[in-house]
């Protein structure tokens, strides 16, 4: 079976769920090999990658791979593509991994598909475009296909792989050292799941009314084990940090369940959440466009409805 490279997404040494999704997908197409770039690799990480089918794990875990913006990781993948001749390279459709994919595409003269939600035989990719309005089947026609897959689009399945480690020696070129990361500033996010990976997202908008009131959104999220999102009106007002913004200029999420409270459903917000499997809207305006998308909607004051819902969820657990 042909080899499929999967670029591992990891944070503080933990393998992110999207990587398990990519490994699951890669198993349908060939034999997955995980590529670990940057520091933080551990036996736990190895176990996790092997559990989901990585036959090989290419390790390039030196610090300078992540000390510079994007370019060193693209170099690493280009080197592996030329050494191993894989059938395809899969990355997560996150902002940074898409950039890696883009630079890689130029280095290896291959096509790249972004925001893919499914892959079929012959590497035909499903893309959902125009905010979910049109479904496209596309394919790469030149080179080694590079495919950026949207988190939460593939159900994960475990299937053990050998997880054989292979150290890759890389020398980051001078050209790739142009943009140096001199500081990483972490803004607190607490214990909640990451927005793009979460199975459930609870988002608040202008209707929440204040930064303090976001605690009712957080409480509902915590009762469901969900991530918290926000509309741009809420992040612009400074009620919630920008990295939690959902929409055209924020994150794109495809959770199993999306709850929008006090959000009108502007087209730019919909672009980031329209592909959620189930949508619930809570809004006091019966005319709010968000109700057009909702599988279930409540016309009412979120300050009443949301705390009552939280109590009910806690009660029924």
């Amino acid at each position: 079976m042909s080899e499929i490279l999967v670029l591992v997404e990891h944070v503080e040494g933990q393998v992110k769920k999207v990587t398990l999704e990519l490994l699951t997908l890669a198993r349908k197409l060939g034999t997955p090999s995980a590529v670990w770039a940057g520091p933080g690799y551990s036996p736990d990480a190895k176990a996790r990658l092997a559990e989901y089918g990585a036959e090989k794990i290419y390790l390039a875990d030196s610090a300078d791979i992540s000390d510079y913006v994007v370019a060193p990781k693209a170099e690493l993948l280009a080197q592996l593509v030329s050494e191993k001749s894989p059938a395809a390279v899969l990355v997560a459709a996150t902002a940074e991994a898409k950039e890696i994919a883009g630079r890689l595409a130029i280095k290896i003269d291959s096509g790249v598909l972004t925001d893919v939600v499914g892959l079929q035989d012959g590497l035909v990719a499903d893309q959902s475009i125009f905010g979910g309005g049109v479904n496209v089947q596309s394919r790469v026609t030149k080179g080694t296909p590079i495919v950026a897959v949207r988190p939460n689009s593939t159900p994960v399945e475990a299937a053990a792989g050998a997880g054989a480690e292979e150290q890759v020696s890389v020398t980051v070129s001078a050209a790739a050292k142009g943009a140096r990361v001199v500081d990483r500033v972490k803004e607190e996010k607490g214990a909640r799941p990451e927005l793009t990976e979460a199975a459930i997202v609870v988002s608040g908008g202008r209707g929440v009314g204040s930064a303090e009131n976001f605690s009712i959104i957080e409480k509902l999220a915590d009762s469901l084990g969900a991530a918290v999102g926000a509309s741009r009106a809420a992040t612009d007002a400074g009620w919630y940090p920008h990295q939690f913004q959902v929409g055209q200029t924020g994150k794109t999420v495809s959770p199993q369940l999306y709850i929008a409270a006090g959000i009108s459903g502007a087209i730019q917000h919909r672009a980031g959440m329209q592909t959620a499997k189930t949508i619930i809207a809570i809004n006091k305006d019966p005319e709010a466009p968000i109700f057009e998308l909702a599988d279930f909607g409540v016309v009412g004051d979120l300050h009443q409805v949301v705390p009552q819902l939280t109590d009910e969820v806690v009660k029924r657990k």
């Binding site: 944070v11 898409k98 883009g102 475009i129 142009g178 990361v181 001199v182 730019q268 019966p286 009910e312």
Partner: protein, 259 residues
């Protein structure tokens, strides 16, 4: 500082957007063309940098004749001049072809700093800035929520999942901006009038020394095989809160096995 800001015309997100049934490319006639929203922030940032450090702002657009409207908008905001890369041979270029054509043009016109939006609203690939940095072999400073230029050096705050990274490089460089970076100005009446007289240079593929075998639909690295409108979402249930809205929502969640 010689700043080039890359601006894309996109179909208005408020209208229905379509692909063409004949060649499966974006149907640019079906919807009004507007400036890509994040490109307005890119133009604003270019203008702010010019105001602080002096120099000139050039708008660069690749697109059909109609994209001239978008160029005028950027000029009305205050950019000095524009280059419009327009040629039928470019129709249907994918991200690789587009980045190649823009990179060739940038080489030709020269730059200290190239400013892009971090994503377009139509294709949303978010790869153009990274691809330009790769092709031009200059530092990539993308997803910036803050930019500072100091002589020959540049520093940005790059938005990440956990907050932001502080990134440093020297010029020339390519940057892309997110919408938290500034508040784009509205063109003034004076700006709109002045824009009519600002120079717009039209370049074709040959003028920009673009190898025609690397651009256009037929030479793309990827293709759209098929497409269809997504089936509409089934209409949901909407209830009015009569003191039990939370309970009813919980019932719905239970029916879907979320609780």
């Amino acid at each position: 500082m010689n700043i080039v800001v890359c601006v894309k015309q996109v179909p208005d997100t408020a209208t229905e957007r379509k692909l063409r049934s004949d060649d499966k490319t974006l149907d640019r006639d079906a919807a009004d063309g507007v400036i890509n929203e994040l490109c307005e922030y890119a133009v604003e940032e270019a203008l702010l940098l010019k105001e602080a450090h002096g120099g000139e702002v050039t708008v660069l657009t690749m697109g059909p004749d109609k994209a001239g409207d978008t160029i005028r908008k950027a000029l009305a905001m205050g950019a000095d001049k524009a280059v419009h890369l327009v040629d039928d041979a470019l129709h249907g270029s994918d991200a690789l072809g587009t980045s190649y054509a823009l990179a060739q043009t940038l080489r030709k016109i020269g730059f200290d700093l190239v400013v892009l939006g971090s994503e377009s609203t139509d294709a949303r690939t978010g790869v153009l800035a990274a691809m330009l940095a790769e092709r031009l072999d200059v530092p990539q400073l993308t997803f910036a929520k803050k930019v500072e230029v100091n002589g020959g050096s540049i520093a940005i705050e790059r938005v990440t999942d956990y907050g932001y990274d502080r990134v440093e490089a020297s010029l020339p460089a390519v940057i892309s901006v997110v919408e938290k970076i500034n508040e784009p100005r509205y063109p003034s009446f004076k700006g709109i009038m002045a824009a009519k007289k600002k120079p717009v240079e039209k370049l074709g593929v040959a003028d920009a020394e673009i190898d025609a075998s690397q651009v256009g639909l037929a030479n793309s690295w990827s293709e759209v095989a098929d497409f269809a409108a997504a089936p509409p979402r089934a209409a949901g249930t909407v209830v009015k809160d009569e003191g039990d809205g939370g309970v009813k929502t919980a019932d719905f969640l239970a029916s879907k096995k979320f609780v």
